[in-house]
């Protein structure tokens, strides 16, 4: 992390579309480079907030200061802010390399240097073999990757990525996530995503926006609080009685089972923190002769998100009852969006994001 005062400062920001309040007195301050997640339900105002920061929408109430005090869309921000909009499309009749070269030319870079940069950017998102193709032939996923590539051209100091991995196959999603991680070393990268499991591994800070209000923001550990979710694969299916024994452990908040898959929410707030909770869980499993074959940190962010967005009541009791379908609702939405694209499959990021431990 590199210190850089007030990369983004939002105060009492409000925005309406007719009678509908899209952003409601939002305050948000980001002072350091890094990767920041912006999460919230559909229609919560994430894209509107991005559009306001990028200067696409005019500020109606409150203020936004970008990169040390500039108003969004001002001349001093030209080529210093990069945006990957969610729904923008590239020109169909121009090759993607020409479109990228044009964008770079707007930054004042032309010729061989520009071409090298463009090729490097396209390589970094796996589109190097599509240089001379028109954007018309790009699938949804390829279009997303092209959007990411144009956003990383040059050296932007603030990068706004709206759903950058939605619709990407696992390999490309991983590639893009690694790219975002590396960008976060020198720039402030704000990523909007519904894939919380993916975000959890990627971001340093998170902001949760619900119905236009920012209900939480800060370092991810602060926002997720003490609740930590773990996913375990056991050597055998355990019985309901054994499941209850696990749930009776002091530091276990909830548990659900799907075959040999066990999802456990731990309370890391007690003395000893997460280690103590894990120790308690593993001891119980060993006593039950159900030693875990695999253990990985799960979507703690998801639980915090559900709690913050008011959806936790629907899903938490039920943490025990929740199904995989519930958990990957957002993933299925993306699947629906891309199901007619034969060469680009969407996949839950869980398979590629979390490290086995």
């Amino acid at each position: 992390m590199i210190d850089s005062p007030s990369l983004l400062k939002i105060e009492q920001l409000s925005h309406r579309f007719g009678d509908k309040v899209a952003i409601d007195h939002v305050d948000w301050k980001l002072d350091q480079c890094g990767v920041v997640g912006l999460v919230g339900p559909n229609g919560a105002g994430k894209t509107t907030l991005f559009s306001l920061i990028a200067g696409f929408l005019r500020v109606q109430g409150g203020s936004i200061e970008v990169l040390g005090g500039a108003a969004p869309g001002s001349r001093s921000l030209v080529s210093r802010v990069a945006v990957m909009p969610q729904d923008a499309i590239f020109a169909r009749d121009v090759s993607i390399v020409d479109q990228m070269l044009f964008l770079r030319a707007l930054d004042g870079v032309t010729g061989t240097i520009a071409r090298q940069e463009v090729v490097a950017a396209l390589e970094s998102v796996g589109l190097a073999d599509q240089l001379d193709r028109g954007a018309a032939v790009l699938s949804h996923g390829m279009g997303k990757r092209l959007g990411v590539a144009q956003a990383i051209l040059g050296s932007p100091e603030l990068i706004l990525l709206d759903e950058p991995t939605a619709g990407l196959d696992p390999a490309n999603a991983l590639q893009v996530r690694e790219l975002i991680r590396s960008l976060g070393k020198d720039a402030l990268v704000i990523v909007s995503s519904h894939n919380l499991l993916e975000l959890q591994d990627l971001i340093d800070e998170v902001a949760v926006i619900v119905a236009g209000k920012m209900v939480a923001s800060g370092p991810i550990d602060e926002v997720t609080g003490s609740a930590r979710r773990f996913e375990l694969r056991l050597g055998r299916v355990i019985s309901p009685g054994e499941l209850q024994q696990i749930l009776d452990e002091e530091l276990v908040r909830g548990v659900s089972q799907d075959g040999t898959q066990l999802t456990v929410d731990l309370d890391a707030s007690a003395d000893g923190g997460l280690d103590a909770a894990l120790d308690q869980l593993l001891h119980r499993l060993l006593k039950l002769a159900a030693a875990p074959r695999r253990l990985r940190e799960g979507a703690s962010l998801e639980e915090a998100y559900l709690r913050l967005t008011g959806e936790s009541e629907q899903a938490a009791a039920p943490l025990d009852d929740r199904t995989e379908d519930d958990r990957t609702e957002d993933d299925r939405t993306e699947d629906d969006r891309t199901e007619d694209e034969p060469d680009e499959s969407d996949a839950p990021a869980a398979a590629t994001t979390s490290d086995d431990r």
Binding site: S51, A54, G55, F56, L57, R58, G73, R75, L77, V78, S79, V81, A82, V83, P85, D87, A88, I89, F90, A91, R92, D93, V94, F102, L103, A105, L106, D107, G108, G147, Q150, P156
Partner: protein
């Protein structure tokens, strides 16, 4: 400096994209086809004169009809012409050419007037999508972080103007070449001079109508609505002005909302009047451009 560079880049990009997408191709071919179709209406009697002197009198009736139309538009200027027609001096074919191009280029000016009447309706085809197209597909969001709205609009306006000027130059070039090859003139010099004069008039006339197209493109988010708005406004203004001035004379001044009211002065034989009229056209274009700029700078994109 960067701003000017970006304006040129936007202009070049607009030209390239509009030609590659086919909308520019359609605009050019349609405008040139309609323009030359109009021109051929005026050429026809002249060409007929050149076929054979025997058929002159029959075909001259069309020529006379055309002259009378022009004479009605600008009365008092063609008494000599009428006398010449009546005295059959124009039987000399070479004199036709000399008369039309060198002495009194009224017929050819009529061609230009026809084009001038048609161009306002055709020109929006080249500019209606210059902002609205990108707004509709949100592709403008890829551009805005790298450029200012002012540079974008001025660049697109410049691109639309260059496209329109290119079309008009092609049109005028085709007319001049055709006349030069088919009509037996004394030389190309006078014809080319005439070509440049009328080209200048059309170039000036282009500015306000292209700027109007760009303005509509910033007002409406859908390119088709922008096109309808632009063409509709261009056609509605003279219709309302002419129909309402019967009821109240000052309403006739509505004609000056667009260059309809004064554009014909671009063909005046008086150079000062031509320059003044061209400046009015540029001023009109400037007003539309400023309104478009104000609109775009405040727009949610």
């Amino acid at each position: 400096m960067m701003g000017r560079w970006q304006i040129l880049l936007h202009a070049r990009n607009f030209l390239s994209q509009s030609l590659r997408s086919g909308s520019g191709v359609a605009f050019i071919v349609l405008t040139v086809t309609v323009g030359l179709g109009c021109a051929s209406l005026v050429f026809f009697p002249i060409e007929s004169e050149l076929v054979t002197a025997k058929e002159f009198k029959e075909n001259a009736a069309q020529g006379v009809g055309t002259f009378l139309a022009v004479a009605t538009l600008q009365p008092g200027k063609f008494s000599t012409l009428s006398e010449q027609i009546e005295s059959e001096e124009l039987v000399e074919l070479a004199m036709w050419g000399r008369y039309l191009v060198l002495d009194h280029p009224v017929l050819l000016s009529l061609t230009v007037m026809l084009l001038g009447l048609l161009l306002p309706v055709l020109l929006p085809l080249g500019s209606f999508a210059c902002i609205a197209g990108d707004v509709q597909h949100h592709s403008i969001r890829y551009l805005l972080p790298r450029t200012t709205r002012t540079s974008l609009l001025l660049g697109r306006l410049l691109g639309a103007l260059i496209l329109s000027w290119t079309v008009i130059t092609c049109l005028q070039g085709a007319v001049v070449m055709y006349l030069g090859i088919v009509l037996p003139l004394d030389g190309w010099g006078a014809l080319i001079t005439w070509g440049f004069q009328t080209l200048g008039a059309l170039v000036a006339l282009t500015v306000p109508y292209v700027a109007l197209g760009v303005l509509c493109s910033t007002i409406f988010r859908s390119p088709m609505v922008a096109l309808m708005g632009s063409v509709g406004f261009t056609l509605t203004v003279p219709l309302i002005a002419f129909s309402s001035r019967e009821a109240w004379e000052p309403l006739g001044n509505l004609l000056y909302l667009l260059p309809w009211g004064y554009a014909h002065h671009l063909l005046s034989p008086d150079g000062t009047v031509v320059v003044k009229t061209a400046l009015y056209c540029l001023g009109h274009g400037l007003i539309f451009t400023v309104i478009a700029l104000l609109r775009l700078r405040r727009a949610d994109l």
